[in-house]
């Protein structure tokens, strides 16, 4: 029997979640002699799901996984580990208060006579093993004192000690400063020389060009391309990633002439943003984009009173504005849709009705301090109808709704306060394509019908182009560029350049 051409071969892998087809017949291969393969695509394209199927976290609904010629229709986490497949996540799985040596041997510390841990041997062996990978590091150091890159290197090393042949790096560099990225890449390249295959998932395309030999592009649950990086241009890769959308929604400008609803001048908060100025007209929808940590979400949280807003001038309808807490922001007509729906948006065990009226209970209370059920249910049924929340009744606990409907409930809650300014942090995150379009319609309608000035924070440039009047790009805490969306020279590529901090072509 001749040698297998592939170390890993995934064939026709399909995976569905309620309401979402996460993977639709995906093929994916890794060469037998090791390779550095990038895996790219938008949020929701299916990259992480594909890797979760490979490591056995999710069982596939259909398809086959072949590892070194052995075929598996059902992978488990234990099995994938035995087969030498390991995953290193953005967030370290190491135990902070323990030393490097202890972490390396975690769960399998060498013991001497009497069953006591043989510490000499722990440290000696850890040093030896790390040394063989070309790592000279003091194994007595505690993991919590290491840099993020060092931790990830230790994690990869740990996976290698467990005989890993395939290592998945899932957004591993997202929290890393540039210098540390080099450190990590150097280590990865050395291991590649020894025949280990790496799958490198990243949103940072320049890193794909720097590190990878090949790249697989995913879109809407399909692998739509397999390229040699040396034959690819950044523009071509971006086009492959963004593709053409299933259904497009186009916002029509609704801006009303008149003084701005919100104007921010020279707003600065050390460590978050610096000298930010922007102005929102009534009914205007402004997109705010940029890399993770560029300050876009801090700005929204600051304006809503969840974080200190810093120094500078903020005017709301011409009057000085500064919210000490969310209550004050809501009372002044500033509402915020949090990015993490489960973390901040919904109260899962409570009903749709209770969720929607949470910020306006004061308005529904009579002189005796009791809530008016009648007023409440009239208001709630109006909102459920107008936002088209699919539910048998307003008494349904929100945790039983689909992601898209949960998000509509959060919108209904925001609408109930009759906002003047809406701050929306990733409003379409984690909802399916259909719900995305519906949510964009809601944003558009609020702007047109109620002249709500809206900020949409998102990394989905194409969606911003569809729903916004203008797009502002933040880079390292400052507003680096502005793009009017109706200007024909505004393209996804130009905006992505600005997002990455490149000067405009």
């Amino acid at each position: 029997m001749d040698a297998q051409p592939y170390l890993v071969e995934m064939k026709g892998v399909t995976k569905e979640f309620p309401g979402v087809r996460a993977l639709a017949g995906v093929d994916f291969r890794l060469r037998a002699d090791g390779e550095l393969r990038g895996l790219v695509g938008k949020n929701g394209a299916g990259k992480s799901t594909l890797m979760n199927v490979l490591t056995g976290v999710f069982p596939a609904d259909a398809g086959e996984i072949v590892v070194r010629g052995r075929s598996f229709s059902r992978m488990t986490t234990t099995l994938s580990r035995q087969l030498g497949i390991a995953c290193v996540h953005q967030h370290s799985q190491l135990i902070g208060p323990l030393s490097i040596a202890e972490n390396v041997f975690c769960g399998d510390l060498p013991t001497g006579r009497l069953g006591l841990v043989d510490w000499d041997s722990v440290h000696r062996q850890a040093e030896e093993r790390l040394g063989r990978l070309g790592l000279a590091i003091d194994v007595h150091r505690k993991v919590e004192g290491l840099s993020v890159a060092e931790r990830q290197i230790i994690e990869i090393a740990k996976a290698l000690f467990a005989e890993a042949q395939v290592i998945i790096l899932d957004e591993a560099t997202a929290p890393l400063p540039k210098h540390d990225v080099e450190l990590l890449f150097g280590f990865v390249r050395r291991q590649r020389e020894r025949g280990v295959a790496f799958v490198y998932i990243s949103h940072y395309l320049e890193e794909i060009f720097e590190l990878c030999e090949n790249v697989t592009v995913m879109r809407d649950g399909r692998a739509i391309g397999d390229y040699r990086v040396s034959e690819l241009t950044p523009q071509a890769l971006i086009r492959a990633i963004s593709g053409a959308d299933v259904e497009r929604f186009r916002h029509a400008a609704a801006t009303v002439a008149g003084p701005p609803v919100l104007s921010v001048r020279g707003l600065s908060r050390p460590g978050a943003y610096a000298d930010v100025s922007l102005s929102l007209a009534p009914g205007e929808i402004v997109g705010l984009t940029g890399l993770e940590g560029c300050g876009k979400d801090s700005l929204a949280r600051g304006l809503f009173g969840l974080e200190p807003v810093g120094r500078g001038e903020v005017l709301l309808e011409g009057k000085p504005y500064r919210a000490a807490d969310p209550r004050e922001a809501l009372d002044r007509g500033v509402a915020y849709l949090p990015r993490d729906r489960h973390g901040l948006g919904i109260v899962g065990p409570r009903s749709i009705q209770e969720n929607i009226t949470l910020p306006i209970l004061g308005r529904l209370t009579n002189l005796l301090g009791l809530l008016s059920r009648r007023k409440e249910s009239v208001l709630v049924s109006e909102l459920i109808a107008s936002l088209d929340v699919a539910t048998p009744s307003a008494a349904q606990p929100v945790e039983f709704l689909s992601g898209g409907n949960q998000q509509k409930v959060v919108f209904a809650k925001l609408v109930s306060v009759r906002p003047r300014v809406l701050l929306l942090d990733e409003p379409t995150q984690g909802v399916d394509v259909q719900a995305k379009v519906e949510i964009m319609r809601i944003i558009d309608r609020l702007a047109r019908e109620q002249q709500v000035a809206t900020v949409v924070i998102s990394e989905e440039i194409r969606e911003l182009l569809d729903v916004c009047d203008r797009i502002l790009v933040m880079f390292r805490g400052t507003i680096a560029a502005e793009f009017p969306t109706r200007d024909p020279s505004t393209t996804v590529e130009r905006i992505l350049h600005a997002v990455e901090g490149a000067s405009q072509p």
Partner: protein, 338 residues
Amino acid sequence: MRTRTPSISLLLDNLIWALLLVAGVAFSLLTTRFLTVNNLVNVLVHSSVLGIMVIGQSFTLVTGNFDLSAESTLGLVAVAGAFLMTAAGEPSNGSGLMLNPAAAVVVMLALGLLIGAINGLLITRLRMNNFVVTLSMLIIVRGLAFLLTQGKTVTRLPESFKGLGHGSLGPVPISVIVLIAAFLVASLVTRSTRFGRDLYAVGGNREAALASGIDPDRRIVQVYLISGALAAFAAWVELGRLGVGATRIGEGMIFEIQAAAVIGGISLFGGRGTMIGALGGVLLLSFINSGLNLMRVSGFAIDMVRGIVILAAMLLDAQKLRYRQPAGRREAAARLAA
């Protein structure tokens, strides 16, 4: 599928009434003395102090907190109240201040509020763990009760003070009226006021409550104040019922308090359950106590049965959460897919 899931959870939430019915029928069949007006009134009288304590505890539980120190607050406030109203030396063992009953009630409520305030402020302002804070207070406050009277029982309380726990309006014991009124008010407050809704939001998702304009810390301090005040109120009823102020009043009661609330559908994890459900939990525990007593089951065995009931309550609560998990896990999966 989507319609079935909530209906099963509705059943789980109202399981208490089915359990109560089963227990009632079973004891009626096992002993002829259970289903009599006299016994049922007795059951309610014995439920009054537990019931008031359960209301206080439920307020904290709904916000995702708990107050282990409540039983010690009950004990200290009872002893302190008795101490202030009575003569010095044997046989009263009081302070000799002979405070009038109305003033004593005010002091007792103030003491309950003070303990609640300490709990609430340590947990919110100093970000201390609620388990550690209320467990420490459980021990400290009980210690204060012993210190106050050197462990002696205070007797000879003024008659007018005992009315709440001892008296009756016609054929109905006042403590029963108090119990029912307390649950009705608690139910109204939790269901139909902004304050009540806020508590469920804080317990269901603290961050979401914050983003909806609620100040979670303020609400948490308030529920500890309520817990302290209701423990003091329960002390008033208990003193009247017992007629003496013993330093061990309420000792070990916290498990029964939490079990009653949880069996009644109030979740230890916050955000779920109703006060009327909690009343069901109180009645179930009292049914079991009374039924086993009437059947002349040994006291040791009754303690064991109580332990089993508490365990069953916690099991039920954990199962409810696990039952709801699939929805959560599906969401988590969809989020991972994103």
